[in-house]
């Protein structure tokens, strides 16, 4: 397993966060992602997986603990400041502007640096070739899988150093799910440190370098994807035996 490098790209220390006063969803979550790693986060329903990503991205107030990006403290920064620092986030649902075209959606991802559009578009359409041919189509007319591609592309427009993905395979047909995972893997190989939350745990662990099992807001288990896939405790509590 890749040990923590001196300055990980993202590191959270004893993170506490929640929505209602007095109720913490995250109860001291620790995680690190080294440069170029693909990290998978799995866990039961209500474990705080989505909340964790939102906390990193400044959408949920952190009550205690710290988040660092390349060694700099980013705890409490707003989402727009984080985007400028190179953090990209793809939410679970409602993640495209349906009334805008694909092109406009991509431009939205780059509003802080519009000059780089042509160059970034080339990179993004290199990974998502089919989008390049349909730039004028309205995002609202796309299927679920296509929207997911647009949302990921938009996050990639800013040339992020780290990409946060919330269930990129949700609601997709099996062939599209596999495609989504392969794309995520490609994005990661292009040098983007990626942290993904997934419910399709087996597929996620198959492609990720390291995984974390989140339970009740704490990182209960961690290891390489392979270790977690074969860990009897993780199988019993979380993965189940169907499809093994």
């Amino acid at each position: 397993m890749a040990a923590k490098t001196e300055v990980p790209v993202v590191e959270t220390k004893d993170l506490y966060a929640g929505y209602l006063p007095g109720v913490n969803i995250l109860n001291g979550t620790n995680l690190y992602a080294n440069k170029g790693e693909l990290i998978g986060i799995i866990g039961p329903n209500g474990a705080g997986k989505s909340t964790f990503l939102k906390a990193i991205f400044g959408l949920v107030k952190v009550r205690e603990g710290s988040i660092t990006l390349n060694g700099d403290d980013i705890t409490g920064l707003k989402a727009n400041q984080l985007v400028a620092r190179g953090v990209g986030f793809v939410p679970q649902s409602n993640n495209v502007f349906p009334s805008l075209t694909i092109e406009e959606n991509l431009q939205m991802g780059l509003y802080q640096r519009p000059g780089a559009y042509a160059e970034r578009l080339e990179f993004v359409t290199g990974i998502f070739a089919e989008l390049g041919k349909r730039l004028k189509q309205r995002a609202g007319s796309l299927s679920g899988g296509e929207r997911q591609m647009v949302a990921m592309s938009r996050a990639l427009m800013m040339d992020p150093t780290v990409l946060l993905l919330d269930e990129p395979s949700a609601g997709l047909s099996p062939v599209r799910q596999d495609e989504a995972f392969i794309r995520v893997s490609e994005i990661n190989k292009a040098g983007v440190t990626t942290i993904m939350v997934e419910q399709n745990a087996r597929r996620c662990l198959q492609i990720c370098d390291r995984g974390y099992v989140l339970d009740q807001g704490k990182d209960a288990y961690t290891g390489t994807g392979r270790e977690l896939l074969n860990d009897p405790k993780v199988i019993g509590l979380y993965l189940g035996t169907l499809g093994s």
Binding site: N45, G46, G145, G171, R176, F181, Q199, L242
Partner: protein, 290 residues
């Protein structure tokens, strides 16, 4: 455990069933120029678990909406237990014993989880000022409903959340509440729209046992799902939709061998470790022989 011999004659799309609970004929729904659903003929076998699969945008959810009165088709007829359901409004369809759940959950956020469950019960006596003065009349029923709700919630691992607002549940938990609430009505046919999307795998597995239990009690289940392990595990029959039409039917193992289904829906990586596809790991050859 699996029911077999459900069909009559040669297996082809639209094949007749021995004892159909739901029959649809020439059901067609158009949105402008787009034909979302164009089902010539399909029958759902009684007291069996049928899976409806197909690519994104095949019209599965629209077909659900049409069958349950949430949307009206441009043409076509369909019947439940031999009685036509055309122009029957959604709540009356539910009263006849056909309950559905939604892919995008519709939990009532500002009610507690328990109140959501109680609302699903068909045994509610209703509120009357005169009756409210005599708790004896309704106390017993209320308690029965609550016990039943609690039992179902336990199975869905939501019992600890029973006094929380439904709005405070996570996405997956809302999905579970939706399914739990549908079961409060003791339906004859329950139609589940992607019931396990967003539910963690271990809990999915225990809920599958529950669904098999429903069949044992005599219920019929029709579900849309992208999780092929689930389909293989519990479905007695599989119907494949693509571009609004029923394109294949049959027993799960047979359907999943169909090259057209693999090509358009399952994909070629279905049983392959994605680690090898993406070049992240090179598996020793032994694992292929397994």
């Amino acid at each position: 455990m699996k029911s077999t011999g459900l069909h009559v004659g040669e297996i082809k799309p639209g094949v007749a069933k021995k004892d159909p609970i739901l029959i649809a004929d020439h059901v067609r729904r158009q949105f402008g120029g787009l034909v979302a659903v164009d089902v010539e003929h399909v029958e759902i076998p009684r007291n069996a678990i049928t899976a409806l699969i197909g690519p994104n945008g095949a019209g599965k959810t629209t077909f659900f909406n049409l069958l349950t009165g949430f949307d009206q088709p441009n043409e076509g007829k369909w019947s439940f237990n031999g009685k036509s359901l055309a122009n029957v409004s959604a709540y009356r369809v539910a009263r006849r014993g056909l309950i559905r759940t939604f892919q995008l959950t519709k939990a009532l956020g500002l009610l507690t989880v328990m109140d959501n469950m109680k609302l699903g019960s068909t045994e509610q006596l209703g509120e009357k000022l005169s009756a409210s003065l005599f708790p004896l009349i309704w106390k017993k029923k209320e308690k029965e409903i609550e016990e039943k709700a609690l039992e179902i919630l336990q199975r869905f691992k939501l019992d600890t959340k029973k006094d929380d607002f439904a709005a405070s549940l996570s996405g997956g938990q809302r999905k579970l509440l939706e399914m739990a609430r549908a079961l409060m009505t003791d339906p004859e046919l329950v139609m589940l729209d992607e019931p396990m999307a967003g539910v963690n795998p271990a809990l999915t597995e225990s809920l599958l046992e529950h669904i098999l239990g429903l069949k044992a009690q005599g219920m019929t289940v029709l579900f849309v799902e992208h999780d092929m392990h689930m389909v293989r595990h519990i479905a007695d029959w599989v119907i494949v939709m693509a571009e609004g039409k029923v394109v294949a039917e049959g027993a799960p193992d047979e359907v999943m061998k169909n090259p057209a289904v693999i090509d358009a829906y399952l994909g070629s990586h279905q049983d392959i470790d994605l680690g090898t596809v993406t070049g992240r790991i090179t598996l020793p050859k032994i694992s292929k022989e397994k």
